[in-house]
Symmetry: C2
Subunit: 317 residues, 2 copies
């Protein structure tokens, strides 16, 4: 009988899951439309059903645990708290509910922490005791590992590097503050930067022909790849702010590496080249060459499920 | 026979030490003039002699270990590395040398980490698993505890919050970078701020009558206590920069408390009142009220020795 865990990633739109062995092989997969379940209990029942189906599909397996990555997930309490992109309001004891329904031990954390766990157990951070994962998506999430342990802090919600204030009094952030890192270094931040640059620069660019509401980071990356001056400058500006956030994180926990994950990272050297330059500008000289900034070692397609599964394996081992 | 440890704080000018029991009582004290020993071996011999004298003085004690706080102390290796304010150049294996000479187990870290240990074992952080200590002296040192453990990081030199870049391209720092927190939030930073304000403001103040080379943070604090407008504004400016550093640290590790230690803290509400206001301005709203900013619970006079002793006790227990 093969030992596996279930990794579940709860997203605003989709929930994806899989049975994952200790080597990171996904033996069965399933997904649900999160928005189809206005009541949490209906969602929990559907999860249990999907897990049962996967178990049948995978054959002779023993499910040792369930790991969940969820927005605003509280590791200490197993709850999802005030998640603005989920339909369920308030504090949801989702881990207990799924544990009761499946009779399998459940552990939960937020999605960025799960990504860091995935990196540690299955990805490029294997064997590292001190590292940071930054997920550059719509916002900027982060998972921090210190001394081989996830940093949860006193509240359970440590590691909100997307809300490091990079520009005092700067861009309005969804969190209620101003100048947060994620308002600059994220897919939406990149688009905001293009709008700023369009206000300042006179260069011709196809980006002027797209409405701000429709402009995406992918369009900006495509334009940059063709040498568009506004798009290139937008990447440089983004890299500058991200570099400041990384430099200030490195002097906090002195990680061996900082891993970048998510859509923006696909831009490759368009992002990494200016990023390395700006990091060297900001970081305390002593730290230069004493850490690396690398792309994640986990394939984006599987990352959410592997991260949640890694959380479960880490708890068991 | 009473169980004690020896706490040793190596400073650029003086080295102070004491025998400390598990409750933080200092049973005997001694000190050396660090600068009197151009050769490390001579210094080590003098340390061993002083420990031996203290042991006689204290009577029936068993020295369980020696803890050392030192500038640029490397916990992993027990070395002092490239300390600019000590006479010994290069990498000094001071822990091994003292261990060989005294036949007692030695553990070493930098002075700010020792201060954090002192706070955890003997001070206001007793029972806390997640907290940060900032020492506001000539520079700004920091010790970070996550999950009950000191954060040393991959290099052993984590927790250099004094070199968080607060103002990109700002004040030149001794580390070679610009705009570091300690160029604003420290005794010397306060003095630099007074000079800036004297260039901008027209108000009468006795601070204009002191040469910049002679101006001290104590004079600024005394002027502020008397309502001097430039001195008061200097404290507000300092508090603003320190608040940004604290806000960005809190979202990293979500500590239960941030403790402030050192000369500047003696200014009391002159510093703490504007500090609280500016922190609330910067920190992600969710964190408001979820951490405290407090003065250290350790008396300044004993802090260095107690911190070093706490390091030893923590290693033994």
């Amino acid at each position: 009988m093969k030992e596996v865990v279930t990794g579940i990633d709860i997203g605003g739109t989709n929930t994806v899951m899989g049975l994952v062995d200790r080597d990171g092989n996904i033996l069965a997969e399933a997904s649900l439309l999160t928005t189809s379940y206005p009541e949490v209990q209906g969602f929990v029942d559907a999860i249990a059903g999907a897990v049962s189906d996967m178990r049948k599909k995978a054959g002779d397996v023993n499910i040792r645990g369930i790991g969940i990555g969820a927005p605003n997930g509280n590791y200490y309490k197993g709850t999802i708290e005030q998640a603005t992109n989920l339909v369920w309001r308030g504090i949801i004891p989702i881990a207990d509910m799924i544990e009761k329904k499946t009779s399998v031990k459940v552990v939960l954390t937020n999605d960025a922490n799960a990504a860091a766990m995935g990196e540690m157990i299955f990805g490029a951070a294997k064997g590292m005791k001190d590292f940071i994962v930054l997920t550059l998506g719509t916002g900027l999430g982060s998972g921090i590992v210190v001394n081989g342990q996830m940093v949860y802090g006193h509240t359970g919600f440590a590691g909100e590097l997307g809300h490091m204030v990079i520009v005092p009094g700067g861009r309005a952030c969804g969190c209620g503050s101003h100048g947060c890192l994620e308002t600059y270094a994220s897919a939406t931040g990149l688009v905001r930067t293009v709008l700023l640059l369009l206000s300042e620069m006179r260069e011709e660019t196809p980006l002027r022909k797209v409405s701000p509401a429709e402009l995406t980071s992918k369009m900006v990356a495509e334009a940059a790849a063709k040498g568009d001056p506004v798009a290139l400058k937008a990447f440089d500006y983004t890299a500058d702010k991200l570099a400041l956030g990384i430099a200030n994180s490195v002097i906090f926990s002195s990680p061996q590496a900082v891993f970048l994950f998510g859509g923006l990272v696909n831009a490759g050297e368009l992002l990494f080249k200016p990023l390395r330059e700006h990091i060297n500008k900001y970081v305390m000289p002593w730290y230069r060459g004493r850490f690396e900034v690398l792309p994640s070692g986990i394939k984006e397609h599987n990352a959410a499920v592997l991260g949640a599964a890694a959380l479960a394996w880490n708890e068991i081992l």
